[in-house]
């Protein structure tokens, strides 16, 4: 388990970039942590590393955004996913098998569907408003 402290959104983005640089396709990065913690910022950093040209924004309504990239980055928001049928129909397993990298917000909702080798990223508020304590569990050394 690795622990990082970031002091602003830019540093969170940079941490996401560093993580994604080490990732291979067929990886799930599961976010845990509440609203406004910086999950989308972290994903924005991952997108940089994967040479994504699209704008990264939280897929609150679409449930999944497909950004392309190398490997392809799929950005999920599981907030409204409540059943296995919901999950199948989001394409979660299909995208996973296609060798993409899946960045999954609100992973709490699908915890029992996460593959064994999932990288868990927990983001918590630090000592001041903009500070974040980010714990990365699994995967690679950053």
């Amino acid at each position: 388990m690795q622990k990082f402290v970031t002091n602003n959104a830019e540093e969170t983005i940079e941490l996401g970039r560093k993580l994604a640089e080490k990732l291979n396709g067929g990886t799930v990065v599961a976010f845990f942590g509440g609203l406004g913690m910086g999950k989308t910022a972290f994903t924005r950093g991952m997108a940089k590393a994967l040479q994504v040209n699209e704008e990264v924004s939280s897929p609150t309504f679409a449930i999944v955004n497909d950004y392309g990239g190398n490997p392809s980055l799929y950005h999920f928001d599981m907030y409204r996913v409540e059943s296995w049928d919901d999950l199948y129909s989001s394409g979660f397993f299909d995208f996973y098998e296609s060798g993409g990298i899946l960045a999954v917000e609100w992973s709490e909702n699908i915890e029992n569907a996460l593959p064994e080798n999932t990288i868990r990223v927990t983001i918590e508020r630090g000592e001041c408003d903009n500070q974040r304590v980010i714990t990365i569990d699994g995967g690679v050394e950053i």
Binding site: V81, W84, G91, E97, E108, N109, I110, E111, N112
Partner: protein, 231 residues
């Protein structure tokens, strides 16, 4: 009867034009690319190589599932759109039945298996072309117990054949794995099955009535969310 058949229910994709059971033109890919990008070019190539036009096709056939969620939908939506535009009839075939079709004339228990992850498979069992059970989603171990009942050679076929063979070879006395060249579903199998079924009196369907067929996996009986336990 000229039939254009399409399969995109799993990792592979294939398209065939058959006429009276004979394959006129067929293409198969297993390149890992997404079907939404590859299927239409594959259809175009298959049609061009057949020296026919889409207007010459009598029936548009497709595997309706089981299979990957998006894969099944891509196949159904593609055939639905084409048949609708050309005012032609459609026909659906079970993916598992099409997978087992090459073993129709073999004296064996043909066990069609599609890998559904986490030790689960979609499966159906056939003997000399006759169906012995409905399409179902089971754990591989459960399938093994069921196959033990048949005192006959079992041949695994489909993209789950290797994993089932490796897991079940020890408990089955006489198990084999199908040859690589017939292991994955080819659309000509859909065409031959559709031709046979329509000739035997099964009805074709209007494009508007085409629907995907899904099976619920055993894992779906678990809670999805650790924290929200239902009463």
């Amino acid at each position: 009867m000229r039939i254009l058949s399409v399969d995109s229910t799993s990792v592979t994709a294939s398209v065939a034009i058959t006429e009276n059971g004979k394959t006129i033109s067929e293409n198969f890919i297993n390149n890992g690319l997404t079907h939404s990008q590859t299927l239409m070019p594959l259809i175009e190539k298959t049609v061009n190589n057949s020296d026919l036009s889409l207007n010459d096709i009598d029936v548009f056939a497709v595997t309706s599932g089981p299979g990957s969620f998006t894969g099944v939908r891509i196949g159904i939506a593609t055939i639905k759109g084409m048949a609708d535009a050309l005012c032609k009839d459609c026909f659906t075939v079970s993916t598992l039945e099409a997978i087992a079709e090459p073993l129709k004339n073999e004296d064996c228990i043909a066990c069609a298996v599609m890998d559904a992850r986490c030790n689960q498979v979609y499966t159906a069992i056939f003997e000399n072309g006759n169906r012995l059970c409905e399409d179902k989603a089971v754990l591989i171990d459960e399938l093994g117990e069921e196959l033990k009942k048949y005192n006959k050679k079992v041949v695994f076929i489909g993209d789950g054949a290797k994993i089932c063979y490796e897991k079940l070879n020890d408990i089955l006395e006489n198990a084999e794995i199908s040859d690589e060249n017939i292991r994955y579903i080819h659309a000509s199998s859909i065409g031959r099955l559709a031709e046979e079924k329509i000739t035997n009196g099964e009805n074709t369907t209007k494009s508007a009535n085409l629907v995907p067929f899904y099976l619920r996996l055993p894992q779906a009986e678990r809670e999805l969310n650790n924290k929200l336990k239902k009463n």
